[in-house]
Every structure is written in structure tokens, then in C-alpha cells.
Symmetry: C2
Subunit: 131 residues, 2 copies
């Protein structure tokens, strides 16, 4: 558990330079190293993630804070966080408590790009809305 | 090698919804599965990546197409690409021909977030500019 002061220092060292004051958050399974999903975090989402140990994101499309798994129960427990060289992206290592993807797949990245040649749409219907 | 027609279908299936008409590109080492860097791709960057087999990105800050390694020689050879459920993010698996990070580190994610407690800045000086 980090002190309030340490959390402040971290927040002030990052560059929340993307839309709506965010950094990019890449969520990676600590065991398999599969990338499970990609989202954004504003200061509040990172603060909540650090204080609860559960992945929180900022939804760009819904413009709101989002506890991952709040509807589905598929929370993502945060184990470790890495930061990139220029402080605008994070890799969040998690122990998933269920599928990360609203489709029921373990990862949102369950298709090869070339499969899009034979399909006309991407799946945006939802049990839990993607951002 | 993909046909022009197949590339068009893929480009039209994606949602280039982020800044300057981009998707997010997570670059992952095919062997270690380490995340090496995160960037953005517009249609042109993805098209060039598919046609050359070398990672191209769109630099948001410099507003230009960027062949990764064009200055440093550290090209990233693309092996496989995954797409996420809602078509706005890609995982690009690469065989690195050198460090992905302009700092000389193999990955841009070479620090734990908690290390920022004891440092005041992020490293944005460059041999090859970060985006």
C-alpha cells in the first residue's frame, strides 16, 4: 500500500497527454503474458487502481470512471505496473478473476488481423460495454 | 503478402477513432512476450507495415509517419498482428532488430511505476525521438 504522498508523486511524474487527460494502459496477464485489453487511465483511475488493487479505467467514449468487472464480476487484480520511457503509457500486470473481454474471451485480442478480410464488422455489442 | 483488396478490407473494418485518425498499437516481442512499446497507427502506417513487414507508426506529437528504426537501424520486423474486439487497438508481434526504446533499453517499459516516487522526471531526451 502506497502513502498518499507517494501516489501524488507518481501522478505528478506521469504525462496524462492523451484524450481527456489520460495515459494508455496495456493490461497484461502476469502468468501467460498475453495482452488482455488496452484502455486509458486518467489521474482518478490510476489513483483508484493503486488504492484498491483492482483495475480501474477511464472510458473515453462514456467519459466516466470504470471499475473493470463492476457489472460482470470479472475483476482484474493488479500485481505490478510498469511505466514507459516518456511517462505516457503503463503496462498493468494482472491476475484475472474472469475473462477480460466483454465477449467472454479471456483476452480482447482473440483474432488475427487477417481474419477481418472475411468479416465486415467488429464486435461492439456487449455484456459489459467496451470503452 | 496481402492483396491490395484485402488490405483495403482490413483498413475499412478497423475503427481509427483516436487522435488524428489512429488505432493504438501495442508492440510485443514474439519470443519473450514483453511489451516493447506503445504507439499509434493511422491508415497509412498500417498499410506501410503490412506492405513492408516493418513496423511503421504515426507520431501523434510530430504528426508524421514514422518507420521505427529509420534513424537508429533498430527496425522491428512484424510477425503477426492481433486485433481487439472493438477494432480500435492492435497487438503487433515483432522480432526486434535492436532495442525498441530510444534510451537503448530493449523495451520502453524498463521501470516499475513505484520507481517514479524517487525521480522527478521521465526520460524524453532522445537518440530517436519518442512520439
Amino acid at each position: 500500500m502506497m502513502s498518499r504522498n507517494d501516489v501524488e508523486k507518481i501522478l505528478n511524474s506521469l504525462r496524462f497527454r492523451y484524450e481527456q487527460g489520460t495515459v494508455i494502459a496495456v493490461v497484461q496477464d502476469i502468468d501467460t503474458k498475453d495482452v488482455l485489453m488496452v484502455g486509458h487511465m486518467n489521474r482518478e483511475a490510476l489513483e483508484k487502481t493503486l488504492s484498491t488493487g483492482l483495475l480501474h479505467l477511464w472510458s473515453i467514449s462514456r467519459k466516466k470512471l470504470w471499475l473493470k468487472g463492476e457489472r460482470s464480476g470479472n475483476y482484474q487484480r493488479v500485481v505490478k505496473i510498469l511505466v514507459d520511457c516518456d511517462g505516457d503509457a503503463l503496462v498493468i500486470f494482472v491476475k484475472p478473476m474472469g475473462p477480460a473481454c466483454h465477449t467472454g474471451n479471456r483476452s480482447c485480442f482473440y483474432r488475427e488481423l487477417r481474419e477481418l478480410v472475411n468479416t465486415n464488422s467488429v464486435n461492439v455489442s456487449s455484456r459489459e460495454q467496451p470503452q
